[in-house]
Amino acid sequence: MASALLHIAVQAADFDAAEEAKRLTAGRKDVGALVQFIGYCRDENGTLSALELEHYPGMAEAEISRISQEAIERFGLIGMSAVHRFGKIAPGEQIVLISAAASHRQAAFDGANFVMDFLKTSAPFWKKEHAADGSEGGWVEARDADDAAREKWK
């Protein structure tokens, strides 16, 4: 089996899902399924004016790469692309994009889902909330549900 395509980016700029889809599928005739996950900033019923994402440069890329490589091997993916933004992000804007290409649909679903579950708990990013009323919001707390989500892959 030829080595799978892996693309990782950690960037302040916005991203284009269609571009990542193209990166994994253009000119190929062996890809039967592509699953893309896009995470957005929500306004929490109007209480949030922005999220500020801090990251650990170098380690963020390395950790996402490690998780993605594990997904490629575990589910036999043809390609995986993971893009994660940092900096200030307004409600409605995109934060993260995971794209998984495979021959068959379940591998593509599982690959993207697996990467999101591990990224949430292992990739060194932290979210700070800016409140709509101008007060300084706090750091988002890690959710037990995210740890539980990761456990399902054991």
Partner: protein, 84 residues
């Protein structure tokens, strides 16, 4: 000298993003390091008062609190991650 690097509320409470420290020989593990840092001032005491909430990376790889820090060039300290 070892490079210490802090993120999120650990960074805010300590009041700096990174620093170079000479670690005493008594600091063998990550746990020892957290105990030692708390002697450096109130801001460290405040940032690290619940050591079990602190995540650690040794040379940019996740590490348990029992791991040895000898030979490590960069140690990252931060709260549980909330990306994605």
């Amino acid at each position: 000298m070892t490079k210490l690097i802090y993120f999120a509320w650990v960074r805010e409470r300590i009041g700096k993003g990174e620093e170079e420290l000479e670690l005493p020989e008594t600091v063998r593990t990550v746990s020892d390091l957290l105990v030692h840092l708390k002697t450096l001032g109130d801001e460290y005491e405040e940032a690290l008062k619940f050591p079990e909430a602190i995540r650690v990376a040794l040379d940019q790889e996740h590490a348990d609190h029992g791991e040895l820090v000898a030979g490590v060039k960069e140690i990252g300290l931060f709260p549980p991650m909330t990306g994605g």
